[in-house]
């Protein structure tokens, strides 16, 4: 029966639903998840945004579980990582970046304190067994992820204890042994068969290992310092930086020098300089080709050492000579009494290649009792000669697969292009995935590179300004021994960081789209939907005005033209 008019033409409630305004639409809103910059920037593959969301909800356990999906040793990385995540954080362009690094440490320590276990179960006994050589960060991470993926692991280590340079090269004031031990202990307890005191080339041969295991991960690290001399001249009592550091960390002894010049700009140089200070050396100089990191210094010109560490070194009285090179050793007989430094800078030559230029007339003398190079390390070739590339490293593709060596993978320092702990952790994870794929005859597709959410796509009106917290530091005058320098954030500070997080490219269920739609064409769902949001577009009525996209704080909604 056709519609009939009502008395006085009254209408019944909500009958407008019969009129589908969706037909007015020329563009439609769509949920679009973009990677958060912090996630993209983390070499270990941690999704900081994901665990910050849980931190805001004060579910620290779940937050930690999110971290260990990628990185099994957050308490370690939460101390020693150079945290590129924070450099990438969009919040940095608003007020100050989220203190992701400190949050990670807080969660890592929380886990140790609470005795939380990894969310995984040991692999079945009959599962294939993989060989991992080297229990440094790369090897440990690889072993851990192999277990997560249901594979058995034999983990070989030359030294009596696992940890690699975490144990041998990082001073305790940065990474307390106890923390390291407990995280490694928890990691090894996942079902890994740990075989200490097995050195490749001495106790193991590559060929045997290749026989015994369907796949191998070689997380061998670097052992030897780069050869160093100034026009062929080297001090008779030359001490290599890394050796000295390792020796000192082991024995706690060091020759009695009054003044030392450390040559280098990396973490080893800085660690060594600070150690020397602690050991009572009055004058500690660091001679660096590059500049002390500062906002106005371009990244390529910054000292590779962790900025935080450099700052602390300066606090502790280490003198850093920027943009300097050593031109000459001052010798009394064969004994070093100083160096001649010169101002240097890397500049492009006519062909555009960067060359280091020494500026004549800027020479200065620096009188020191000892000169210690700390300019990086290379691998001990013993037992792996056939695998080394022309730079003396193993190389490796994105997954760490060593070129032309079926079933051989590597990661960390041994690659020759990754020098950071978090990079090593990431290498271990990728290799583990590659190994599992190899065994299950699955080809690995590198994930498509998705550009992280740009700052411009955020709607900043919805975020209150607020500064990041900084943990308490040990007073300089107390930094004499190995007491940890950096403190940990308070629970409330950590929660505040969760609140400050922009949730770049991810729905944070703030209700803006739902609240502001003039057509009530955004509906709120009870649970998180498959597309990751908490809302459903009601395309029957959406007129495509674009308000929701405009007002989404997180840049999670995009407008696309109707087909």
């Amino acid at each position: 029966m056709s519609t009939q008019i009502t008395r006085g033409a009254y209408a019944l409630p909500g009958t407008a639903l019969a009129f589908k305004t969706g037909t007015w639409r020329t563009q439609r809103p769509r949920h679009l998840h973009s990677p958060a910059p912090c996630h993209g920037a983390c070499p270990a593959g941690e999704d900081a945004q994901a665990y910050l969301a849980l931190v805001e909800e004060e579910d620290f356990h779940a937050a930690w579980q999110t971290i260990v999906q990628a990185n099994p040793i957050p308490s370690v990385t939460g101390r020693v990582c150079h945290h590129p995540c924070e450099a990438a954080c969009n919040r940095g362009r608003y007020d100050s970046p989220i203190a992701i690094h400190h949050v990670e440490r807080f969660l890592g320590d929380q886990a140790l304190r609470e005795g939380w276990d990894y969310p995984l179960s040991p692999p079945p006994a009959e599962a294939p067994r993989i060989g991992v050589v080297g229990a440094g960060p790369a090897g440990l991470a690889c072993a851990y992820h192999l277990i997560r993926l249901g594979l058995n692991v034999d983990l070989f280590e030359a030294l009596p204890l696992a940890g690699g340079l975490l144990r041998t090269a990082i001073p305790e004031y940065r990474l307390p042994k106890d923390t390291l031990d407990r995280e490694i202990e928890r990691l090894l307890a996942t079902g890994i068969r740990f075989r200490p005191n097995h050195r490749l080339g001495r106790d193991l041969s590559l060929d045997e290992l290749r026989q015994d295991y369907p796949a191998l991960f070689l997380g061998l690290g670097t052992q030897r310092s780069r050869p160093w001399s100034i026009d062929g001249a080297t001090p008779s009592d030359l001490r290599e930086g890394l050796d000295l550091l390792q020796e000192y960390l082991e024995m706690g002894r060091i020759p009695e020098w009054r003044s030392v010049a450390v040559i280098g700009a990396g973490n080893t140089a800085i660690d060594l300089a600070r150690v020397l200070k602690r050991a009572g050396v009055e004058e500690v100089h660091v001679i660096s080709h590059k500049a002390i990191p500062a906002p106005d210094v371009p990244p390529e010109d910054r000292m590779p050492a962790i900025e935080r560490e450099i700052r602390q070194a300066l606090e502790e009285g280490v003198r850093i000579h920027e943009h300097r090179g050593v031109q000459r050793l001052l010798l009394r007989g064969e004994r070093v009494i100083g160096v001649e430094m010169v101002h240097m800078k890397k500049l492009p030559d006519p062909s555009g290649r960067l060359r280091r230029i020494a500026f004549e007339g800027t020479e200065t003398l620096l009188h020191v009792e000892q000169v210690i190079p700390a300019i990086g390390q290379i691998m001990d070739p013993e037992g792996i000669e056939p695998l080394l590339n022309r730079w003396g490293f193993l190389g490796g593709d994105r997954w760490g697969a060593i070129p032309d060596q079926a079933g051989l993978f590597t990661g960390g320092d041994a690659r020759g292009d990754h020098g950071m702990v978090s990079e090593a952790v990431g290498d271990g994870r990728l290799a583990a995935e590659a190994i599992q794929a190899l065994l299950s005859r699955r080809s690995l597709e590198p994930p498509e590179e998705r550009t992280p959410l740009a700052f411009e796509h955020l709607n900043l009106h919805y975020f209150e300004p607020g500064q990041r917290p900084e943990p308490a530091l040990l007073p300089v005058e107390e930094r004499t021994g190995f007491q940890e320098v950096e403190g940990v954030l308070a629970r409330s500070q950590v929660h505040a960081e969760g609140v400050r997080c922009f949730s770049c490219g991810e729905c944070m269920a703030c209700d803006n789209c739902w609240t502001l739609c003039p057509d009530s064409a955004v509906l709120k769902a009870r649970e998180r939907c498959q597309d990751g949001s908490h809302y459903v577009f009601d395309y029957d009525y959406c007129k495509g005005c674009g308000l929701c996209a405009e007002e989404c704080p997180c840049g999670y909604i995009e407008m696309v033209a109707e087909g």
Binding site: A11, A16, M508, L516, L523, K524, A525, R528
Partner: protein
């Protein structure tokens, strides 16, 4: 734990907030008035009677046989919403029903032709919340100037030309006039600050007696901006001081929403076609631009809108997004 995206048909009427204005109305894309109506009703809930003056809201929401309203609603005429609401309230009183009466009027139906009815309703102290959705011109008839149209704005009856720079007169200060009735509560609000708007509606409802809410509601068509920018424009009006968010009780200011860092009015004006003529290279244009800036500065000073510190005074989170939004009851 993720779930299949639910079917809108099932979800639509099962939303955690009451939706008194359903989808299917015929407002322009990005309509501010529609947002105002839905936000107000979210705060009132279903136990209200609504009187609606003639205007966009009424026309786009009830083309017979359809109605987008899910509350009892009546439209009578352009100029009598205040009186119709008063009659409804009198009836409820006589019947001993304690349902609240809401009146909706645009700026035309409130500032101008409906002013007498509004004043009478306020003076007789009817227990009515009168909501003016202010889109600053007669939009329903195609953008003619009203006494709410801002100074120098272009409308079809205040066009800029050789001899004129848009509207010659100032925007009527309706809130002061309303507050001068010595009513218990009169406030301004903006669609750009939904929590603040809802809070003010709830405050008004809690009061026995006449209350007034003046809501700045952008009109993409009449103001000449993209519908996607309605909220941004409304926010700029507040942040520049052009539309201060304030609360008055018994005629005295009892609350203001601070502006963290007042922005130049040009930022607000430049994004709207109705002010485009103010940006031509012309002395008169520059003068009017300064004039509007001065008006904004005056508002900021008069109501003490600037604060100190990152978030100087309490915006009550009106402009902060919260993870998780509104929890399910």
């Amino acid at each position: 734990m993720d779930h299949q995206c639910p079917d809108p048909d099932r979800l639509r009427l099962r939303q955690p907030r009451f939706q008194g204005l359903t989808s299917g109305h015929r407002a322009c894309a990005g309509c501010g008035a529609a947002i105002t109506a839905r936000l107000v009703l979210e705060a009132t809930g279903p136990d209200v009677l609504v009187a609606n003056a003639t205007g966009c809201l009424e026309v786009f929401s009830t083309p017979w046989p359809e109605s987008a309203w899910r509350v009892p609603w009546i439209h009578s005429l352009f100029e009598n919403a205040g009186s119709v609401a008063a009659g409804m309230e009198a009836a409820l009183k006589a019947q001993g029903r304690d349902t609240k009466v809401i009146a909706f009027g645009g700026d035309g139906g409130t500032f101008d032709i409906g002013f007498r009815a509004l004043s009478g309703m306020l003076e007789r102290y009817h227990n009515v919340l009168y909501v003016c959705y202010d889109n600053e011109a007669y939009m329903n008839t195609g953008v003619q100037r009203s006494s709410s149209t801002p100074h120098a704005a272009r409308t079809t009856t205040s066009p800029p030309g050789k001899a004129r720079m848009g509207k010659r007169h100032l925007k009527k200060d309706i809130l002061s006039i309303v507050a001068a009735h010595h009513i218990p509560y009169a406030a301004t609000a903006s669609v750009a600050y939904p929590p603040d708007l809802r809070k003010k509606v709830r405050r008004a409802l809690a009061i026995e007696g006449p209350t007034f809410l003046h809501v700045h509601s952008p009109c993409p068509l009449g103001w000449g901006h993209d519908g996607a920018l309605s909220i941004e424009i409304a926010r700029l009006a507040v942040e520049t001081g052009m539309f201060p968010l304030i609360e008055l009780e018994r005629g005295g200011v009892t609350g203001v929403m601070p502006i963290r860092n007042p922005r130049p009015v040009a930022e607000y004006l430049r994004r709207q076609a109705r002010f485009r003529h103010l940006f031509q290279d012309d002395a008169k244009a520059r003068e009017e631009l300064e004039h509007l800036q001065a008006i904004a500065d005056h508002n900021i000073e008069f109501y003490g809108l600037t604060g100190h510190g990152p978030d100087a005074l309490d915006t009550e989170g009106a402009d902060t997004a919260h993870r998780g939004g509104m929890r399910w009851a």
